[in-house]
Amino acid sequence: MSANHNRPLSEVEIRVKALESLLVEKGLVDPAAVDALIDNYEHKVGPRNGARVVARAWVDPAYRERLLADGTRAIAELGYSGIQGEDMVVVANTPDTHNVIVCTLCSCYPWPTLGLPPVWFKSAPYRSRVVSDPRGVLKEFGLAVPAEKRVRVWDSTAELRYMVLPERPPGTEALSEDELAALVTRDSMIGVAEVKGVTA
């Protein structure tokens, strides 16, 4: 492997290689299991899962009701469950209320529905400020919430993960569930964006 390097390894690269090689040597970690986990979260699990949950809730009022009553179970109906999604609470945006999620203490995020979090979600500036100045933070994301609309910020605990159910945009009545899912962005399920309608 060393022949491939055209630069010295960084300190952090050396630590990671040392750790993995010792764990593998001791038989504690199987490198194939490491590869499989990386592949799954880099290529398979991601916000398209959450988008399908949102689209289903938009077209099926009974599903929406189940989703808001017991998020974990309703999300599992669509096949999404597991680590970092064991206790899900879905909060719905309405004409009166906009919701946004954070984890001030850590970087908790609903992996089964949204995949792994973006760097800004895990960063100190977002975590510190979204709870004290949510409207200002949302503005930085290009979302100006009208003064008369309430903003609610949901801060994860060690166990519980939140996800936002955005409002269905107007003008989408004729769209299929798949077409609706294609409109739903990761940021709209974190609550730093709204779902935009179709531009005709």
Binding site: V16, L28, V29, L37, I38, Y41, E42, V119, A124
Partner: protein, 102 residues
């Protein structure tokens, strides 16, 4: 427990940097650290709360290091504390890898 990780409401931590079309991982070493997550827990050496607490014990460098560096630091701390990898063998292995990469 209160600590450097308890960031809610803290002032002066700078602007939020939003990366467009951000990749899931930025470096190969981040992939490897992430990939060790479940296998390391599967050894039963420690649980998720101990893992989180190890990150919270990091001290001031918490704010100067990235998310996957936090994970790496927690793995190192706990694997040593639980007697899975000694400080001496970890240090020797780091030296060998640095030497081989030259």
């Amino acid at each position: 427990m209160n600590g450097v990780h308890d960031l809610g409401g803290m002032h002066g931590l700078g602007p939020i940097v939003i990366e467009k079309d951000e990749p899931v991982f930025h470096h190969e070493w981040e992939r490897r650290v992430f990939g060790m997550f479940l296998p390391v827990f599967a050894t039963g050496a420690f649980n998720i709360d101990e893992f989180r607490h190890a990150i919270e014990r990091m001290g001031p460098e918490y704010l100067q290091t990235s998310y996957y560096e936090h994970w790496l630091a927690a793995f190192e701390t706990l694997l040593e504390e639980k007697g899975m990898i000694s400080a001496e063998e970890f240090s020797a292995r780091r030296a060998r890898i640095a030497e081989e990469a030259r």
